[in-house]
Symmetry: C2
Subunit: 233 residues, 2 copies
């Protein structure tokens, strides 16, 4: 009946949450659960107590696997980087950087809370460093000087993160919602107060088919094309 690991020491669990509780707690399981919680309920819902509950454990048990909450957040960010397909060093730099940019954007769309956490003053994790290493390798391999690699890195990553920040800050999630909310906003403007913004909304944002997210690739290609010209200098 009892396995070789010892006699059954089954104290009845008082609290049983949706999350299956079985395997031992590990750092990976803690991070994964934290990411799921932040994805589902927002980063402000992520507390040590709530996360413990999700894992069927007291909050303090988490501290065995995580130094503190900042360490938890840093680990979550690094896990997001681990999800990103790094740039291939075999492909042409431009297609490699384009694919990688789309992969970063997809990851930030899956985990919107990650963008605002990028400041995490903690040291960058392994996955983050590896990602940066390959980006630099890709640009260097594509013929960029060190100085131009620094320029390209700053403008590309700045754009990618900034676009995610803008996207997240929009008060609407879907194109349909955009219409409703933009209309509402428009109605609240004192007449003639913001004429250019009003015209822009009426003539562009409120037209069917507009989706802010679609703007991403335009800016990305604009930057990549411009970088290509600079590389040839």
């Amino acid at each position: 009946m009892a396995t070789a690991t010892g006699p059954a020491r089954r104290t009845p669990r008082r609290r049983q949450t949706a999350q299956a509780r079985r395997e031992r707690l590990t750092r990976e399981r803690v991070l994964q659960s934290a990411i799921e919680l932040a994805d589902a309920s927002g980063i402000e819902a992520l507390s040590m107590r709530r996360l413990g509950e999700e894992l069927g454990v007291e909050a303090m048990s988490l501290y065995t696997h995580v130094a503190n909450k900042d360490d938890l957040l840093a680990g979550m960010i690094d896990a997001v980087f681990a999800e990103i397909t790094p740039p291939s060093l075999e492909a042409h730099w431009k297609t490699a950087m384009r694919d990688r940019a789309l992969s970063v954007r997809a990851a930030l769309l899956r985990h919107p809370w990650a963008t605002g956490l990028m400041d995490a003053n903690a040291a960058p994790g392994e996955a983050t460093l590896l990602h940066h290493d390959l980006v630099i390798g890709c640009l260097r391999g594509g013929g960029f000087s060190f100085a131009m690699t620094a320029h390209a890195f700053a403008v590309l990553d700045g754009y990618i993160y900034g676009f995610a920040l803008q996207d997240r800050s929009l008060p609407f999630e879907t194109p349909e919602e955009t219409g409703d909310l933009a209309q509402e906003m428009l109605a609240q403007f004192p007449a003639g107060r913001f004429p250019h913004l009003a015209a822009f909304m009426v003539e562009h944002v409120l037209k069917p088919g507009y989706d802010f997210g679609d703007e991403f690739e335009f800016g990305l290609d604009l930057i990549l094309d411009a970088l290509e010209r600079h590389r040839e200098d």
Copy 2:
């Protein structure tokens, strides 16, 4: 002796903070004090209780002038936008957008906490709307179509905010610190683990005179030049 406003009702203040306490509390004074506190001590130090203390008042008094903490944060963001010199509608679009981008960047350097708060799901404030109105007016006046205005807006503001986010996330503040910390990081890399990153640091980041902040204008001009070409299409 007593003024027309009534007899002196001076109850002795028990707590007196550095901040001079005199004038009546107003929304402006609350916002200004909150901004100063966030600038000086970081956004995580900004609590209602601490802000009240700074103003010589109990935390609950703040709620007369601010709906809740989210409203406080939204007000702070709008106050930062009010600091920005908006684009001139008289100047050439390119110089107007360049000056305005530098003004936004300067504001975000003065108030580093603002970048991460841009998501504030609250409705944008008056100063924010006015700023956006003038940016759109500037681009439209410069000959951009509505669609191209949307593109330009997304790529410019994305870059500006994203660069601020990157800048803030760097673990060093000054070029000198960069050297020290980069060296330290480098020393901790397992040998050969991040070869491109290591070479980049040794050959570029650690060279005297390197300052990440200097990258901003390169990317800005790259984008502005590329937009100019698109406008002419």
